[in-house]
Amino acid sequence: MIASLAARHSWFEATARARVAGLLDPGSFSEILPPAESSPSPHLALLDLPGAFDDGVVVCYGQLEKKPIFAIAQEGQFMGGSVGEIHGAKIVGMLRRAVKEKPAAVLFLIDSGGVRLHEANAGLIAISEIMRAVLDVRAAGVPVIALVGGSCGAFGGMGIVAKLCSAILISEEGRLALSGPEVIETVAGVEEFDSKDRALVWRVTGGKHRYLMGDCAMLVDDDIAAFRSGAAEFLAGWSEPAPSVAHLRAGQQALENRLAAYASYRDGLQVWAALGIAEPESVPLLDRDALVALKEGLPT
């Protein structure tokens, strides 16, 4: 147990650069606009805040098991992985390039609370451009895989972007939602949602819950190697479907059914019981393999 933990390289703890270096085949990483060639956000400078050379995102190409891959990695430690103008432009540029060059996939390492509020409209526009660009890449037949397991999760506009991707791979530590816990508490009060209750936050937005609900295609351990093998395994069995109205309608119907079934619940525990899990309170303690086995045994 301890030996296996010692061999792990936590995705959650790693920087964006360490994640992407461990995800791609060794030596294949090639960065576009590396820190020495780019400049920090002018908006942050106007607000008297220090920027980062890469504006908090690494865009690169490389290989995953010898297949050509584009990767985008957000740095959650810099301003919560937030999307500013340069940050967004780098992501959009990489996605548009994917439409032209058609790599085997785009891996999107999301670790972000959403729009960088300091950059206001520029950040909002950037998010909407990212959404459009993700859909363009998928329409060109190139899968976009979101990998979520960083400290900032995928919230706000980046929560929407994650759901626009072909699939999401998540770890137990990862989180996915629209409004973040603090935002909900600020707007609707602590009776609505207690953002300081970490266990509750994870029962409602965390990786295990998202996987049980079918929002994420795969649950992986908090380990860079597990994300790498998970992404390779997912891509081997995936071909990007052509967009269709029937598919969208089915998705809409599934969401309506979900709202009708679960909207009155206050906690993941209630949802898991309704899913048919006999001992919902045991879910937070299960390891990854046990949880995947539990999900596979559930009635569909």
Binding site: L49, F53, G56, Q77
Partner: protein, 104 residues
């Protein structure tokens, strides 16, 4: 934010590789970018820091570093979010090791 610039005499670094980056602009942390400069016996440092009023502390930490490590022939750019002197020294050593090819 405060912008600080310093120049220190330092022995030339034995090997010059690609620009090297280490660290992240996160709370209590900083990022350091090391690039080749034009003066082989000097190290130029430009710092943007969120913490105002620590110019003399920066000077002391960097002076000590430049005299104990060969850092000549480099230009170092730093974006700082309130790193302590110990973290600054550690990251400088890390960045310079990367600049020389990786071994710390």
């Amino acid at each position: 934010m405060e912008t600080l610039e310093f120049r220190f005499n330092s022995k030339p670094v034995p090997r010059v590789a690609d620009p090297a980056l280490c660290g992240v602009v996160g709370s209590g942390n900083l990022e350091i970018l090391v690039k080749p400069g034009i003066e082989p016996e000097a190290c130029r440092v430009r710092i943007k820091t969120s913490a105002r009023g620590f110019g003399e502390t920066w000077r002391a930490v960097l002076d000590s570093f430049a005299s104990s490590h060969p850092a000549g022939g480099t230009v170092i750019a730093i974006n700082d979010m309130g790193a302590t002197p110990a973290v600054v020294t550690l990251r400088l050593a890390q960045a310079l090791a990367e600049y020389q090819g990786g071994a710390l």
